[in-house]
């Protein structure tokens, strides 16, 4: 059994939800059973994902559980596109996160999803297959295919079960993302033609020409930055979040946005290191601007869901900063912070859903004093808020601390401004808590239905994860350590080249300072 699982683990991770979605589409069953079938498939996927997580070998930075089948020949080249899957330290956490969130979404779904259950479960499972595929694909074309496939389900989830303005929001979301992915397609074709292969591990081990890297990096990174989203491209996010049903928001924030940061690391850093070094200063500025601007926007919001949506922009700014600092510690923090954001923001969106189902409003001014009238809600909201703010003892602290700590040498100013973002985060999140939970209890908020079992079931695992990662992050970090060190090492030669190139121009002393700024170990070498 175990040998079978190890051999087919990744195939199962993609195939189970896919088969499940088709099964749910055609099985003759009532609404209640459809949801149960969907849940069964999602739980089976979760079990496989956890098996993969548990037996993940953290003593190697290579790809594990790899499977590969040739698929079709790329016309006119010797390259063969293959169905290749593999899991490494970058993807293992995200795979586990996707596996955890999807059953919770299905459990909590009845709160907001009252019609067309069959389609809902179908699209949800389809999306899970797409997301798993994105994180596991070991072939450029396959990655692109999964990238797009995960898009369509969310298009329908928002478009069918969303709020008033859902069609505007969903079309905007898809078109924004498509602009990026079409550019990625251009870059992908050029990489495939010039290197003669589409196999990702093969490409990661090669040093592509600097010119190709520059071109492909722009194409790929733009696509990922729109997905993350970073500040100039973020306007689709609040619309999509506000209109999406609860489950859609959870998946969007929890996993979809991580596809962007995952891509930045996998392709931006690992495949195109030279270009990443060239662009790093720009991207660090973009990350920091995202932190500050996102926080300020979140502070100004009067709508609970919009506030959480903008806070995502700020949190992902940290991740971008951590990625482009190129330090192993910061990279580990970036990977972890991606997962943390999925957990805490996922929980926050669930909570917004909980209160919206009862009050049919999301305006901060409509609440107040819920701590006394709805204590279980208040408990989870405070916990998720603290995790989101990054209180020590919660998962958010570990991630943010590692990013700031790792990025500090060489990026002092960036870190200083980012730390200001931490303060702003506390301001708007705690302000939100105060307004919603404390103060005078209004009459409408007095007799709220207590938390349902399905709501407990959806929130408890997330709360447990927040504390577990916060108090004992060791095992989680172990799994990412080697791959982050390898990534950082991959960039180092290019970093040194840039330094050397800048040496002759500057005078001796200023060159020294510069190399110290860029690299704290410069003195020792």
């Amino acid at each position: 059994m175990s040998a079978f699982l190890d051999n087919h683990l990744l195939t199962l991770l993609v195939a189970l939800p896919l088969v499940g979605s088709l099964f749910v589409l055609f099985v003759p069953a009532g609404e209640r059973w459809l949801r149960r079938w969907g849940l069964a498939f999602a739980l089976a996927t979760l079990a496989v994902a956890l098996h993969g997580y548990w037996w993940f070998d953290s003593t190697t930075s290579g790809f594990q559980y790899a499977v590969e089948h040739p698929w079709f020949a790329l016309p006119g080249t010797e390259a063969t596109v293959s169905l290749a899957l593999g899991m490494d330290g970058l993807s293992v956490l995200l795979v586990a996160l996707s596996g955890i969130l999807m059953p919770l979404v299905l459990v909590a779904a009845p709160g907001g999803i009252k019609t067309r259950i069959r389609e809902f479960v179908f699209w949800a499972l389809m999306m899970e297959a797409g997301m798993m595929g994105v994180f596991l694909a070991q072939d450029l074309v396959l990655f692109y295919i999964f990238w797009e496939v995960s898009l369509i389900p969310l298009y329908f989830l928002i478009g069918i079960w969303g709020g008033e303005n859902r069609i505007y929001a969903t079309v905007k979301f898809v078109l924004y993302t498509l602009v990026g992915s079409l550019l990625m397609l251009v870059g992908l074709i050029r990489v495939a033609l010039e290197s003669g292969t589409t196999n990702i591990p093969e490409l990661l081990s090669r040093d592509l020409s600097v010119e190709l890297q520059g071109f492909a990096f722009v194409c790929f990174a733009l696509s990922f930055l729109i997905k993350v989203p970073v500040v100039p491209f973020h306007t689709w996010l609040p619309d999509a979040h506000v209109q999406a049903p609860t489950g859609g928001s959870v998946i969007l924030a929890g996993v979809m946005l991580k596809m962007g940061t995952y891509g930045l690391m996998r392709f931006g850093l690992q495949m195109f290191p030279a270009a990443a070094v060239d662009w790093a200063p720009v991207l660090i500025v973009i990350g920091v601007v995202g932190i500050l601007y996102g926080s300020l926007l979140a502070w100004a919001q009067r709508d609970l869901k919009k506030l959480v949506a903008y806070s995502s922009v700020a949190h992902l700014g940290f991740v971008v900063l951590g990625i482009f600092a190129f330090e192993p510690t910061a990279l580990q923090g970036a990977v972890l912070q991606g997962v943390n954001h999925g957990i805490s923001t996922g929980a926050l969106f669930f909570l917004v859903g909980v209160i919206y189902d009862r009050r049919h409003t999301r305006q901060l001014k409509d609440f107040g004093g819920l701590a006394t009238s709805f204590p279980s809600f208040a408990f989870f909201l405070v916990l998720a808020t603290l995790a989101s703010v990054g209180l020590p003892g919660t998962n958010g602290f570990v991630g943010e601390f590692l990013i700031l700590f790792g990025s500090f040498p060489g990026h002092e100013w960036a870190v200083a401004f980012a730390a200001l973002g931490v303060v702003l985060g506390a301001v708007y999140m705690l302000g939100m808590c105060r307004e919603v939970l404390f103060g005078r209890v209004r009459k409408v908020n007095r007799d709220l239905k207590p938390m349902q079992i399905r709501e407990w079931v959806a929130l408890t695992p997330l709360a447990a994860l927040m504390l577990w990662i916060g108090l004992y992050p060791g095992p989680v970090l172990d799994r990412t350590r080697l791959v982050c060190e390898a990534m950082s090492a991959r960039v180092q030669p290019y970093l040194e080249q840039t330094e050397e190139a800048s040496l002759p121009e500057d005078s001796e002393s200023s060159a020294d300072t510069k190399s110290n700024l860029l690299n704290p170990q410069g003195m020792e070498r």
Binding site: F72, A73, L74, P75, G76, T77, R116, V141, Y144, I145, F146, E148, V149, I152, Y155, F156, G159, I160, R166, I167, T170, V171, V174, L175, L178, V179, L182, L183, L185, V186, I189, R190, A192, L193
Partner: protein, 477 residues
């Protein structure tokens, strides 16, 4: 020269014999004892046997192209695949028309429908096989003349009549151009084989002019900008089963003819082809963007697809080796199959919806997924394939074309082309909004009883779209 027929002659003529034989048999049957069902069955059998007759040819051409009738006909692999596509489209057209178009006016046009359908398919296959200007002209005329009538078959509807007349007048003009161009090329070179085109394009101004006329005629038939203006009205006015046939069969046959008869890089360089493709893509997309009628939108989106096909011609003009050229031929064939399958499914589903709604205005198709989930699902997959989403054949088709372009040094055009397809996504997604996301007018929409036979038939191109998208080896013969 010996006059007896060779084995190759018989091999290549077999599909024609079946098609023409079935057409004549239908006519005789009608004269003796009119019986709609029998006529339909005879036609389907004729189409089926013609398709079966293509299989031994496929075996024969796998190594090298086969010629027959002293070089008047010549086939290679993509051409045969496209012929099978045309035959399938015709059979499908008959199935979808069975309960809508055939009973029209008490069924008095049944015989006309089947005969014209068979003869038009005959013309498509002849156009595909043609390796001599005479056979090309015969093929194109054989293809077009029955279609003029089929388009105007609903003779009490003004838009159908208008479509037929428009198609006829403009098509006749194009035929004139074609004949005149052929005459000039012959005068300049004394040759009527495809090789004459290259020779004429490089020779005297008479030859160049002739090639240009021929090119214009073919570009008109494939509906490339600026010769696309007939498409929207004709596709919209024609009965939808006929539109499906035109979008699939006519397009496949004429694009394949263009591939064989358009001058390589002599008259138009890669840049001009790419420019033409870009214009076609842009104008097709822009005009499709704002249509309130789904059928018209699909028609204009067909123009946009021609734009991408022309990109493959740009790559061909830039290709230097014969191997690369034949590779591009395969790419074009794959694209046409992918487009044909999706267009057949889309127009077919639209026809079944039109029967209930009466027309294809998107306003009255709102929330159709609640009433007719199966048809909406078919349309969804077809539209995604037309848009070029992964896991459908449409994605790989586009992908292969852009790979060819970038491989032959047309990267910047490929970038423009890829970005222009974004418009395409916009209107296909808009159609999905109408079908799935907007609410139907009533509070509790009821399920409609579908036409099961036609719906099951629709599933064939739909499933094939996904199969070829997931497993492209199936037609990378």
């Amino acid at each position: 020269m010996e006059l007896g027929l060779t084995a190759n002659d018989w091999l290549l003529a077999a599909p024609f014999l079946w098609l023409a034989g079935a057409g004549v048999l239908v006519l005789i049957w009608d004269a003796v004892r009119p019986q709609p069902l029998a006529e339909g069955i005879v036609s389907w059998i004729g189409l089926g046997l013609a398709a079966v007759a293509c299989l031994p040819i496929l075996e024969a051409v796998r190594t090298e192209p086969v010629e027959a009738f002293s070089g008047m006909l010549s086939v290679n692999v993509p051409v045969i695949v496209l012929a099978i596509l045309c035959l399938g489209a015709a059979a499908f057209c008959g199935i979808v028309a069975w309960r809508s178009l055939l009973p029209y006016e008490g069924g008095r046009h049944t015989t006309a429908f089947w005969t014209l359908l068979l003869f038009s398919t005959f013309g498509m296959v002849l156009t595909l096989w043609a390796n001599h200007m005479a056979t090309l002209f015969l093929g194109v005329e054989c293809l077009s003349l029955p279609l003029y009538v089929l388009v105007a078959l609903r003779r009490d509807q003004s838009d159908s009549i208008e479509a037929g007349l428009k198609y006829f007048l403009l098509g006749a003009f194009a035929s004139g151009f074609m004949a005149f161009g052929m005459a000039m090329v012959y005068a300049a070179t004394g040759d009527m084989s495809p090789a004459a085109i290259s020779a004429a394009a490089e020779g005297s101004s008479l030859g160049v002019f002739g090639v240009a006329l021929l090119l214009i005629a073919l570009l008109f038939k494939v509906a490339a900008v600026p010769f696309h203006l007939w498409v929207a009205d004709v596709y919209q006015g024609a009965p939808t089963p006929v539109t499906a046939l035109m979008a699939t069969g006519t397009k496949a046959a004429t694009v394949a003819a263009l591939l064989r008869w358009a001058p390589g890089g002599e008259l138009m360089g890669p840049q001009s082809w790419a420019m033409l493709g870009c214009l076609t893509l842009l104008i097709g997309n822009l005009t499709a963007l704002n249509q309130s009628n789904l059928k018209r939108m699909l028609a204009l989106s067909g123009v946009a697809h021609v734009g991408i096909l022309l990109f493959a011609f740009a790559a061909r003009a830039a290709a230097e080796t014969a191997e690369a050229t034949s590779q591009i031929g395969d790419t074009l064939g794959y694209y046409l199959v992918a487009y044909g399958l999706a267009a057949t499914a889309a127009f077919g589903a639209l026809e079944l919806l039109e029967r209930r709604v009466g027309h294809s205005e998107s306003a009255s198709l709102q929330g159709i997924a609640r009433r007719q989930p199966l048809l909406a699902g078919v349309l969804c997959i077809a539209l995604l394939s037309l848009a070029g989403f992964p896991l459908t054949a449409g994605f790989l088709a586009k992908y292969f074309v852009f790979v060819e372009m970038i491989r032959h040094g047309l990267s910047s055009w490929a970038v423009i082309g890829i970005l222009l397809t974004l418009f395409g996504f916009a209107y296909y997604l808009k159609a999905l909004v109408t079908l799935f996301m907007q609410e139907p007018p009533e509070e509790r929409p009821s399920l409609w009883r579908p036409d099961w036979v036609a719906t099951m038939a629709l599933l064939v191109p739909t499933v094939l779209s996904v199969v070829f998208g997931v497993w492209p080896k199936a037609i990378q013969l």
